[in-house]
C-alpha cells in the first residue's frame, strides 16, 4: 500500500477521530519509586468530528497532555481503541499506523523550543514538503508554491519570513510557523497543547482566531488542550468540552452548555479559578475552591475528586460515579450530587 492510497482512505470515511476507553498507566523506574504506577488515563472516551473542535480542560497533572501525545502517536496506550475515520488503529501494525498518526499534528506550547534555531523558516518548511512531494508524486516546483500557500494560510508574509531564523520572529509569528509546518502534511487534526500560553497577550487572540479559521478554510479539526476555559470557548464554542480530572472525564458536553451550566464540583472549581476582571465583571455568587491542593497521595477509592470536594460524603469516598447522561441528552457528568452553581463571573 503506498502512502497516497492511505491518505485517500483516511480522507474517505469522515467519522473523524474517536477514542474509546483509552487507558494509560505510567510505571515509575529507578530505586525509590520502582513499582509504583500513575494512572494517567482511566478509560477516556472522546470524539472529534472532521473539521470540528474538542477541548480538554483540567489542572496540570490531570492527564490531558498524555492524551494529546497519544493522539499524535508520541505515546502508546495500554487499552482501549483509537480510530481515525472508522479505521481502528489499535489493530494495525506500527508501519501501517504511522501514516494515520502523521496526519494528527501537534502544536507545542513553546514555539521557542519547537523550532530549530539554526534553520531558516524556508528550511523548516522545505523538509516536510520534500517528503510530502515524494509521497504524493508531485514535482519539485510544487514545494516552493506550497510553502507560500501554507505561510499565507497562517497569516504570514512569505517574502518576509522565509529567509529568517526563528529568533528574528516574535513569539506569535513563531507559533504561526509551527502551525504552518504542521499544515505541510495536510493534517486531519491539530493537537494544540497550551498553544498560546507562552504567547504575548496582545498576540494570543490572533493565534486562537487562526486555529478557528483553519477549521473552516482547510477543514482541519482541532483538539485544544488547556487550563484556560475562556480560550477553549473562543476556539471551539461549537465543539465539545471535556473536563478531565486524574485521568477520568468527569464532565462533558457542548462547550457553551458546560460553561453556562456546570454541575460537577470540579468543573465549578476550575471555572471559579478564572480571574475576575473587577470593574467589568462581578464574581459568580457560588465561587468554589477545592478544599485541598492536588496531591499524588490522594486515594483512588471512590470518586477521584472526593478528597478535595467541598461536598463529598461517605458514599463519594467509597463508590466511584461513572460518566453518564443522567437524563440530559447533551451533558454528561460523573457526580452523585450534581447541582447547578453560579461560579462564572458575570458582566457588571
Amino acid at each position: 500500500m503506498s502512502e497516497s492510497t492511505v491518505d485517500d482512505v483516511v480522507s474517505a470515511a469522515g467519522d473523524g477521530i474517536r477514542g474509546r476507553g483509552i487507558v494509560k498507566t505510567f510505571k515509575a523506574r529507578g530505586n525509590v519509586l520502582a513499582g509504583s504506577t500513575v494512572q494517567a488515563l482511566r478509560g477516556v472516551d472522546f470524539h472529534i468530528p472532521p473539521g470540528g473542535a474538542a477541548s480538554f480542560i483540567g489542572e496540570s497533572g490531570c492527564g490531558k497532555t498524555t492524551l494529546g501525545r497519544i493522539l499524535a502517536g508520541l505515546e502508546d496506550y495500554d487499552a482501549g481503541t483509537l480510530s481515525v475515520n472508522g479505521v481502528d488503529l489499535t489493530s494495525l501494525s506500527r508501519r501501517k499506523r504511522d501514516p494515520y498518526f502523521r496526519r494528527i499534528q501537534m502544536i507545542h506550547q513553546d514555539p521557542y523550543s519547537a523550532l530549530n534555531p539554526t534553520r531558516t523558516v524556508d528550511a523548516i518548511l522545505t523538509d516536510p514538503l520534500t517528503l510530502r512531494a515524494r509521497q504524493t508524486g508531485r514535482p519539485k516546483s510544487w514545494i516552493a508554491k506550497r510553502q507560500r500557500e501554507v505561510l499565507s494560510l497562517v497569516g504570514l508574509e512569505p517574502d518576509y519570513v522565509l529567509s529568517r531564523y526563528p529568533h528574528q520572529l516574535s513569539g506569535g509569528m513563531r507559533q504561526r510557523v509551527v502551525i504552518a509546518r504542521a499544515l505541510t502534511v495536510d493534517p486531519e487534526a491539530l493537537v494544540a497543547d497550551e498553544a498560546v500560553s507562552m504567547i504575548d497577550v496582545s498576540l494570543r487572540l490572533g493565534i486562537l482566531r487562526l486555529l478557528r479559521e483553519l477549521r473552516e478554510t482547510v477543514g482541519v479539526s482541532v483538539l485544544f488542550i488547556t487550563h484556560d476555559v475562556a480560550t477553549a470557548r473562543y476556539i471551539g464554542a461549537d465543539g465539545d468540552l471535556y473536563v478531565i480530572y486524574r485521568g477520568q472525564i468527569i464532565e462533558r458536553g457542548p462547550t457553551e452548555t458546560i460553561i453556562a451550566n456546570p454541575v460537577h464540583p470540579y468543573t465549578q472549581c476550575l471555572l471559579s479559578a478564572i480571574p475576575v476582571l473587577h470593574g467589568l465583571e462581578v464574581p459568580g455568587a457560588d465561587r468554589l475552591t477545592p478544599t485541598e491542593p492536588l496531591a499524588d497521595t490522594q486515594s483512588d477509592a471512590g470518586c477521584l475528586f472526593a478528597a478535595r470536594c467541598p461536598f463529598a460524603t461517605d458514599r463519594c469516598r467509597t463508590e466511584r460515579p461513572d460518566l453518564a447522561h443522567h437524563g440530559d441528552p447533551e451533558q454528561l457528568h460523573a457526580c452523585f450530587y450534581p447541582e447547578q452553581r453560579r461560579v462564572v463571573a458575570v458582566s457588571a
Binding site: S202, L205, R233, L270, A273, P275, L277, L280
Partner: protein, 352 residues
C-alpha cells in the same frame, strides 16, 4: 531581624513603606548603541498598596522589577532616576554590603519562574541557611521557625518542604517557597515577577489569594509584575501599564478595567477572551510588541499599533513622546489625543 523598613500603622492596620520611583531610566548597551529598556518612569507605590505592573514581552517590566533591587545586569545599567523607599533611602545609590543586605532584607523578591530560581542541588532548608549566612542572621533557629510558620500559613508542611529538593515540589509549591524566601527576613516591600506564569488556573487562584492574605497580614507594599491583566484584576489595587519602556497608563484597577483611556490598555483588555457574552467581542491587537531595537526613537511608542492613530494620524503622535498627564485624580495617561480631551471610544470602534 535585618529589616530597617518598618510597617507603619494606618487605622490600626500595619502597612508597608511608600516607594517613589522618579524618572527611572534603564539602558542596555548593544551594538547599536545604548538603548533604553525603561524610559523615565514615574511611579508611586502607596504604603500598603498592591500595584500591578502589566506589560508584554519587551515592555521593560522585568527590567523595571530588577531595578527595584538595583540588580540590573550588565550590559544594562540604571542611567538616571531614583527609587526612594521609606526607611531605606534611594536604592539606586546603594552599593556593596548595604545593597546586598537590602536585597532579601528590606526588599523581598520572588523571581520569575520560581522553578528555575531555586538551587536544584540543595534542599530548601539549605538554601534558607544560605540566606541566613549572607544576611548575618544570628538566631538561625528563629529563622527556621519563621520559615515554617510562613510555609504552614501558605498551606504547606514546613518540615517536609525544608527537607525537599526543588524537583520534589510542584510548580505552585515552588512559587510558595519563593514567597517564603522573600519574606522570611521580614521584608516589607515585596516584588513578584510573573508569580503565576506556568501555573494552572487553580494553583494560580490559590497563589493570588496567598499573595493578598500575606500582604495584608504582614503589612507589605507589594509590586506584582505580570503580562496577565487577569492577575492584576484579581490582586492589585492599582495598575500601571507598560509599553515599549514607557508607563502609558496608571490608575485604580477597577477604574482602568472599566474605562481604559490609553488605546493600548483598551486593546489589551479587548484582546482577552471572556467566559460570557459574545466571543466575537474579543479583538486581537494588530502588529507586534516592539523589541529593544525596534522601539520608535521619536514620538509615541505605540502609534504603529494604535487604532486611534490609524484612524486619525496626529502630528504630535509622530514627533513628541507623550508625557503622562493626570486626567482625573490618580489616573495618569500618556497619550496626546487623551490629553487633548478627545474621546478614545470612537477611534477604537473604527479600528475594529
Amino acid at each position: 531581624m535585618t529589616a530597617v523598613t518598618q510597617p507603619s500603622e494606618v487605622d490600626g492596620k500595619k502597612v508597608g513603606p511608600a516607594v517613589r520611583i522618579s524618572d527611572l531610566t534603564v539602558a542596555y548597551r548593544t551594538p547599536a548603541g545604548e538603548l533604553p529598556a525603561v524610559s523615565r518612569i514615574n511611579l508611586e507605590l502607596a504604603p500598603g498598596s498592591i500595584t500591578g505592573l502589566v506589560g508584554e514581552s519587551g515592555s521593560g517590566k522585568s527590567t523595571m522589577a530588577l531595578a527595584m533591587l538595583n540588580a540590573v545586569q550588565k550590559p544594562g545599567r540604571i542611567t538616571d532616576g531614583s527609587i526612594e523607599i521609606d526607611g531605606l533611602g534611594d536604592v539606586v545609590s546603594l552599593a556593596g554590603k548595604r545593597l546586598r543586605e537590602a536585597r532579601g532584607g528590606e526588599i523581598g523578591y520572588v523571581f520569575q519562574a520560581a522553578q528555575n530560581s531555586l538551587n536544584p542541588l540543595k534542599t530548601v532548608g539549605k538554601q534558607l541557611l544560605d540566606l541566613a549566612r549572607s544576611h548575618h542572621v544570628e538566631d538561625k533557629r528563629a529563622l527556621v521557625r519563621q520559615a515554617k510558620e510562613l510555609l504552614s500559613r501558605m498551606g504547606l508542611s514546613g518540615d517536609r518542604v525544608l527537607d525537599s529538593y526543588q524537583h520534589e515540589l510542584s510548580g505552585g509549591m515552588r512559587q510558595r517557597v519563593g514567597i517564603m524566601l522573600a519574606l522570611v527576613l521580614n521584608a516589607h516591600l515585596l516584588v513578584l515577577d510573573e508569580p503565576t506564569t506556568a501555573l494552572d488556573m487553580i494553583s494560580q487562584s490559590n497563589i493570588l489569594s496567598i499573595i493578598r492574605d500575606v500582604h495584608a497580614e504582614r503589612g507589605l507594599t507589594t509590586l506584582v509584575v505580570t503580562h496577565d491583566i487577569g492577575v492584576v484584576a484579581e490582586v492589585a489595587d492599582r495598575v500601571a501599564v507598560m509599553y515599549g519602556g514607557r508607563l502609558v497608563e496608571q490608575g485604580p484597577t477597577t477604574e482602568v478595567l472599566k474605562d481604559p483611556k490609553h488605546p493600548y490598555t483598551r486593546g489589551l483588555i479587548n484582546a482577552i477572551p471572556r467566559l460570557t457574552g459574545d466571543p466575537e467581542v474579543a479583538q486581537p491587537l494588530p502588529g507586534r510588541p516592539p523589541t529593544l531595537g525596534t522601539i520608535p526613537k521619536q514620538g509615541c511608542v505605540f502609534r504603529e499599533r494604535c487604532a486611534r492613530y490609524a484612524a486619525d494620524p496626529r502630528e504630535d503622535c509622530e514627533t513628541t513622546d507623550p508625557v503622562a498627564s493626570e486626567i482625573t485624580p490618580g489616573r495618569l495617561v500618556a497619550c496626546h489625543p487623551v490629553a487633548a480631551g478627545l474621546p478614545v471610544e470612537v477611534s477604537v470602534e473604527e479600528g475594529r
